[in-house]
Amino acid sequence: MQRIGVFICWCGSNIAATVDVKKVAETIKSEPGVVYSENYQYMCSENGQQLIKQAIKEHNLTGIVIGACSPRMHEATFRKAAEEAGLNPYMVEIANIREHCSWIHKDMDEATEKAVILVRTAIAKVKLNAPLQAGESPVIKRALVIGGGIAGIQAALDIADAGFEVDIVEKNATIGGRMAQLDKTFPTLDCSACILTPKMVDCAQHEKIDILSYSEVEDVKGFVGNFSVKIRRKARFVDETKCTGCKICMEKCPSKKGLNTFNMGLNNRPAIYIPFAQAIPNVAVIDPEQCIKLKTGKCGICQKFCGVGAIDYEQKDTFVERQYGAIVVATGFKPIELDAFNEYGYNDNKDVITSLELERLMNAAGPSNGVLLRPSDNEHPKVITFIQCVGSRDTSGCGKPYCSKICCMYTAKHAMLIREKYPDTQVNVFYIDVRTPGKNYDEFYRRAVEQYGVNYIKGMVGKVYNENGKLMVQGSNLIDNEQITIESDLVVLAAAIEPEPSVRKVATLLTASIDTNNFLTESHAKLRPVESPTAGVYLAGVCQGPKDIPETVSQASACAAKVIGLLVKDKLKTNPCVAMPDENMCNGCSQCANVCAYGAITYVDKEFRIGGGKTEIRRVANVNPAVCQGCGACTVTCPSGAMDLKGFSSKQIMSEVEAICKK
């Protein structure tokens, strides 16, 4: 037998001035199931809570209804009070007679009548409430970071410094990512390698960090606190434990015509290589597409010369399976392909390059050892023209609709560096807008104009063409309302950036959502910007949206804080108001899994009795309560009504409907 207690709050005069609280409490006394009904000035006060606790104990209440302010205000307070009195906290319902009643109505009779109905509705619901237990799931105290760029490195270091084990999975042969390719960084112009490589070394030497380079995530199972991840360790053909990074193999390798991808293909590298001098791990890798031995079976020179016997042509991909409590995605970006932008002549002219290529051309460790020479004839370019927004802010379908955010600043940086190193060079920049929000950013850009005399032209380039070996850049100068053609020696395109394509696979494996531009979606654009909607998955760097280095590092550290906050817990409390299928009615039709934003629903084959001593195997839905967030999308898509939501069950909501409509 249900024993319901009702507590009507005055909220001082907030409720009592428009709702006759005593009358409400009195009227409700005669409701079936109600054994106690009282009113009090401030239910949420210490005394008010005491009143509730006492009544629960004295009257053996099985459920309580509080007529008070919005549940968004004090539901938690009253649940806690109930729990302290020995009543399951989910046997509490709130009738919102303040925000939804006393505050919006003026007529006392009308408001009192409505308050009675609202309390009745809550009673109808609480009668169908079931005691719920917040579940617990263990937390594996180890984190996975996918991507070994600056975002991944920073996140890993911060997590490891807090004392948790971290694995970095990096698909390339070394960590470092895009930042390792950069020459200088804005707005301070420090050398990128000088600030990045010490962090890379820290990672390698940190006892809590394990770097799995040349590896990819292959499969992810499980949920927050309890992920099981299968990682493919691609065959390097070099024993990582033996290689000392002496580079004799690189010297001796006869196949030297491979494109050096680290240098954006601007020069060549041997088939066995270490991507760059400060690579971590400092271990060689063989490109099987290029290696003569692996392609034809003949050669084996590197093996002969290797002093430690690290070369192993027989190496195969291997798999490791590890458990993690949290996952940070930091898969980074790449510049877009420029095939759709014929007008800039990127594919036809060697001297039309992208900004990232320019970074390598300017870098001391780059193909020209830091001397700016143009690719076609190794001459010093005298006139350099930059074109902004190549493929950014483009809704025509050729490019990307968003602003790539970093181009304005790095172009100012390039322009400044060139003018400083080669003062006889003329530098032009075609821009649509110059966007410089950030500390010391606008000052930096203005310095390029005012101090270094970079020629900024408001307008866009319509065509780059080759005339007698000169690059003619034709565009508009909107301020002067003229069309101009600039004879240039080098043209640099600020190509839009896009998420690294491998992010799609990662997102699918993690059931993390992704937007139309392939950026990972954050849980809340403003308030949960580093969390994926999938619990236990965090986002750092450009995989979530365009950003520069300081922003990436901040986000990575924020991720780390979130991960640490998760990993210090031994167990996770789960929201008990989750979906729950009735297996006896489930068709196993997959409709519910199709609408689940969290991937909380899986299917299992189960044996059921079907009468006559017989059984049958049926596919039925299974909700992981640690992953389900309790939205209820699945409950509506389920045709048989097998799926229901605890705390908001169909029957509960229908009883509320009935109580409201009863005349």
Partner: protein, 128 residues
């Protein structure tokens, strides 16, 4: 026709959304007739956007535009400056009142395969 109606008419005739323009000037950057035009392609878009149509209706540029559609091809925002030029040109021609052909009669006799340039030159030829 009031000015507002005329603006609306021009927008409709051009079939392009001038508010999408982000003022990059790429259209004027590669216009082969730029020098001859007293009002430049990007100005057609911004002037229509700002409702300055009297200037547009009086300009010479509509007769210099080659209808090569380079500006349409180049625009990163899917705006068609040439279509605005053409809309102004059509409006001017219709305002001359000596149409050999009525605007209402055009749709049924226009073959989809006839290039736009041909239609425009036909306009010019038979309407002056």
């Amino acid at each position: 026709m009031t000015k507002e109606e005329r603006i609306e008419n021009l927008n409709r005739l051009s079939g392009t959304d001038v508010r999408k323009c982000m003022k990059c000037g790429k259209c004027s950057g590669r216009c082969p007739a730029f020098k001859e035009m007293d009002i430049k392609p990007h100005q057609f878009v911004s002037m229509l956007c700002n409702g300055k149509i009297d200037e547009l209706l009086e300009c010479e540029a509509i007769w210099n535009c080659l209808s090569c559609m380079a500006c349409v091809e180049r625009c990163p925002r899917g705006v068609a400056p040439a279509a605005v030029v053409e809309a102004v040109r059509d409006t001017v021609v219709r305002m001359q009142g000596k149409n050999g052909i009525k605007a209402e009669e055009i749709p049924p006799i226009v073959d989809e395969l006839i290039p736009q340039q041909l239609l425009v030159s036909a306009y010019r030829k038979y309407n002056k």
